[in-house]
């Protein structure tokens, strides 16, 4: 039931436009992440859905109902805050019971519901503790239980993991996805962490400068991004500038700065167009021939080795090799790099320059 729809949303603070032209539909039971760098307007967006701020233009619909003028407490949402915001004067149980009490649930439910959700986040044994006696990860779990116990079917998560340690964050991501899917909730999750977004979402909405850049499944965004910014933001990528030499039915040929010709997916470009070729590091392989380059750095990543090279076309490139590979690489070695024509994607070279087009802040 609680599908969410945003129609032509715009928000301005004085002269600053925080978001514009936002149209978005979130289906019932869908887990959608709004992803983007600091200041892209993602927090403003989720706050408008919750009713913490009113949009300057456009409408928010929750379960088909126009939310204009509906106060926060009547939107029936669960909201998890970046700074956690557990009530410091109440115990874990007291916090989780708050929703059922103020919603005037029957006595027996006020007793049972909070315990059920504390159990779900595996913190039943800590229900008597005050927030400052719990670790960061535990606090955020209590806050999730608190949001769920109020009976909301729509969960809004405002950077729920960014205050936590990297390792705790990793474990909690999977927890978050498991619990919300088990309960069949509709979730809108805001984050700047692309790895987090990839792991938890059914769909990612990528934002930049107050606008939606692209919206699709994690897989589609990673494998065939429609946009140069997306290609760089979602996972790392190598970007090579060149000129289209030829477009064939099964591939495109691109001439790099040094005259080397490399392959990419077929495209609609024409001979002579200035393009940027994007190729993921894990898709680049050393070979006997291909783009010549010199190794400038080798980083041990644990389960793989990442090698940074300076190519003859004067591009800095990354590629990965397995830790169990026999060949030993050293800084200064020459390697030739190839990739499958299916994994290289072409984009028009942006007029403002590649660096500006992928800028993160």
């Amino acid at each position: 039931m609680p599908e969410v729809e945003l129609v032509n949303i715009a928000k301005r603070f004085g002269k600053v436009t925080a978001s514009a032209d936002i149209n978005l539909k979130v289906a019932d039971g869908e887990y959608v992440t709004i992803l983007g760098p600091s200041g892209c307007g993602k927090t403003t967006l989720i706050r408008m859905i919750a009713g913490l701020i009113e949009p300057s233009e456009g409408k928010v619909f929750i379960a088909g109902k126009d939310m204009t003028g509906v106060p926060i407490e009547e939107r029936d949402i669960g909201y998890v805050f970046q700074n956690i915001a557990l009530f410091p004067h109440l115990t874990a149980l007291g916090n989780v019971s708050f929703g059922p009490i103020v919603k005037d649930m029957p006595e027996e439910e006020v007793k049972a519901v909070p315990q059920r959700y504390l159990e779900m986040v595996k913190l039943l044994d800590r229900m008597g503790m005050f927030p400052d006696e719990l670790s960061g990860g535990e606090q955020q779990k209590v806050s999730l239980a608190r949001a769920l116990a109020s009976g909301a079917k729509l969960l809004l998560l405002d950077e729920p993991l960014s205050a936590l340690d990297a390792r705790v964050r990793m474990d909690l991501r999977y927890e978050l996805r498991r619990i919300t899917k088990d309960l069949g909730l509709t979730v809108i999750h805001v984050t700047h962490d692309q790895e987090e977004a990839m792991t938890v979402s059914d769909r990612i909405v990528l934002m930049r400068n107050g606008r939606i850049v692209e919206s699709n499944t994690p897989e589609a965004l990673y494998l065939s991004p429609q946009n140069l910014f997306t290609a760089n933001f979602i996972g790392e990528t190598n970007l090579l500038e060149g000129v289209v030499k030829e477009v064939l039915p099964d591939r495109s040929l691109v001439e790099l700065r040094d005259g080397t010709v490399v392959e990419a997916k077929p495209s609609k470009f024409r001979r002579g167009d200035a393009v940027v070729l994007s190729i993921r590091p894990e898709r680049v392989h050393p070979a006997n021939e291909g783009l010549g380059s010199v190794i400038i750095k080798i980083t041990y990543m644990g389960t793989y080795i990442r090698i940074t090279v300076e190519s003859d076309s004067e591009d800095t490139m990354l590629f990965d090799v397995s830790t169990s590979e026999d060949r030993v690489y050293s800084v200064g070695d020459r390697v030739n790099l190839i990739w499958s024509k299916r994994s290289g994607i072409l984009y028009p070279r942006p007029p403002e320059g590649v660096e500006e087009a992928i800028k993160l802040e």
Partner: protein, 552 residues
């Protein structure tokens, strides 16, 4: 250049820093705390005198007890009213955005700019039943008790609103928003989440209001004299603890037999103020609001429609009618009275004297208060700092008239009786020093210690890191503290009288004498001059604090 380096090195030496700290703390203990409480020793050294003059004299005893009881009753009633009327205003100031908020913010502080002596006169003219009322005055009050309550509300109300607003500002509003996303109405969320987190602010507000009301002397005396002059004779024999000290202090000069009674009432006020405030602090921190009970439907209804508007409207009406109009009614009075000539010579002498005292006092406060504030904030982990922190508040909560008498006895006993100006300065330092310390310590505590720490690792000596990094950040708070101390010293009556008796020549004391002589027009005019001068300082304060907010 070279010499400066030598100075920096010298004052950075461990030995020097230790010595300096000892000096600062010793100054505080010997010149501020000890004199304030010195009068208590009277009970040990001259108990027999108290016994004969007070305890075996039912008439004196009942006068003392009555006045002290009246003081407490008034302070309690005033505090409760301030809280009830102040909370909605504090809420509006912190949580709401609207046009004219700046203006409202300024209005709240306006009574603080008016010296209490002027306030007392202004409020009395506005409220007191008068056979020949001043145009636009209400002229309805005939009970001195009610009049003093109304007067005390005027100058204590801003303190309550400020304390509540300060703590409200610190309570992250995501708590309340979190409550509302869980389905609580505005009222439920405010009552069950924000209010319980509020206790510390409430304690501060209550203590400030209570002690302000207990302390106030000049305004109260003027209001009562005005009332008596307007034909309500009962006012002439109406005393609060503080005005009783003022009255007897002027009598003791000709009749030394008042000394034991005077000491006794001072001790009583100091002791009761301290005890009561300790209890209050404990009670408020233990007090639990009924959290478990929730009435969702009723509270939802009260969060809607006309009710919030009625609450806000009521609070604003209170602010206007009870606080602001009485504060500035004196202008109307002077406008509609028959002019009489004012002895400008005497007034300007009094004003000059007041300014001199206030200026010297402020310089001492700044020079010795800042290092002290730094000392207590830098060593929060030490028990001794916390003790000092609590002691700083003592001169703030002790009624200034009692404090003044205590200082008079203390410095008199050491044989400085002749140097009245010096004693007056020391008395004013005692009750203004905490204002500077509080302001500076509060500002320092808000500043991330990592600024100074980073400066140190970059090679700065402690004195350099204070001068280059911390000082620019707290400069405006230092100035705010200084201006508060200055205006407070300028408006003080009780302590001045208690120290100097009839010889006091400060502006507020001069105004009191004008009122007592029934020269009301002159008193009004003198008040206005004092208000204007103080107000200029107040504007300066607002300008400076605003600049600080922009800088951060």
């Amino acid at each position: 250049m070279k010499r400066m380096d030598w100075v920096v090195d010298f004052i950075s030496r461990k030995g020097f820093r230790k010595g300096w700290t000892v000096f600062i703390v010793a100054f505080f203990l010997f010149f501020v705390v000890l004199p304030t409480l010195y009068v208590v020793t009277y009970a040990f050294t001259d108990w027999s005198a108290i016994e004969t003059a007070v305890l075996s004299n039912p008439e004196t005893l009942s006068t003392i007890v009555d006045s002290v009881v009246i003081s407490f009753e008034i302070a309690a009633i005033v505090t409760v009213i301030d809280f009830l009327a102040g909370l909605p205003i504090a809420w509006i100031l912190v949580r709401k955005e609207f046009r004219g908020k700046e203006f409202l913010d300024t209005l709240i502080d306006m009574p603080l700019a008016v010296p209490t002596a002027a306030l007392g006169f202004s409020a009395a003219v506005f409220w007191v039943m008068n056979p020949d009322p001043v145009p636009f005055s209400l002229s309805v009050i005939s009970s001195p008790f009610l009049l003093i309550i109304l007067l005390h509300i005027v100058f204590s109300y801003p303190y309550m609103v400020r304390s509540l607003a300060a703590i409200l500002e610190e309570i992250d509003d995501t708590y309340e928003v979190a409550g509302r996303t869980l389905g609580a109405s505005r009222l439920t969320a405010a009552r069950t989440i924000t209010l319980p987190l509020f206790r510390a602010g409430l304690a501060t507000g209550v203590i400030l209001c209570f002690s302000r009301s207990m302390s106030e002397t000049g305004g109260t005396m003027i209001a009562l004299s005005t009332m008596a002059n307007l034909g309500i004779g009962e006012a002439a024999n109406f005393f609060t603890g503080s005005t009783l000290i003022g009255e007897w202090r002027s009598l003791v000069e000709t009749d030394p037999t008042y000394a034991p009674s005077l000491a006794f009432v001072s001790i009583l006020l100091i002791a009761l103020a301290l005890i009561l405030l300790i209890i209050l602090k404990l009670v408020i921190m233990k007090f639990h609001l009924p959290l478990r009970k929730v009435w969702p439907m009723q509270e939802k209804m009260l969060s809607r429609g006309i009710f919030p508007k009625m609450k806000d409207g009521g609070a604003l009406l209170f602010l206007a009618l009870i606080v602001l109009i009485p504060s500035f009614f004196i202008f109307t009075y002077v406008l509609f009275s028959d002019p009489a000539s004012l002895d400008m010579g005497a007034l300007s002498y009094a004003l000059g004297y007041s300014f001199l005292v206030a200026g010297v006092v402020t310089v001492i406060d700044i020079a010795l208060g800042i290092p002290f504030a730094l000392h207590i904030t830098k060593h929060r982990d030490r028990a001794s700092s916390n003790v000092l922190d609590v002691l700083v508040n003592v001169p703030l909560i002790v009624p200034t008239a009692a404090l003044g008498y205590s200082l008079f006895l203390f410095w008199g006993s050491i044989g400085t009786g002749g140097a009245s100006f010096v004693v007056l300065i020391l008395a004013h330092v005692a009750f203004t020093y905490p204002l500077v310390v509080r302001n500076v310590a509060g500002a320092v505590e808000e500043i991330d210690p990592s600024f100074e720490e980073t400066a140190r690792t970059l090679g700065a000596r402690p004195i350099q890191s204070f001068h280059r990094v911390l000082y620019p950040l707290i400069k405006s708070s230092i100035l705010a503290g200084a201006i508060m101390a200055f205006t407070r010293s300028l408006g003080e009556t009780g302590a001045t009288q208690a120290v100097l008796g009839r010889n006091a020549l400060t502006a507020p004391v001069y105004i009191v004498s004008l009122v007592k002589a029934d020269e009301l027009y002159q008193a009004g005019l003198a008040c206005i001059i004092l208000i204007i001068v103080s107000y200029i300082f107040m504007l300066l304060l607002r300008y400076l604090t605003k600049k600080r907010k922009e800088a951060i």
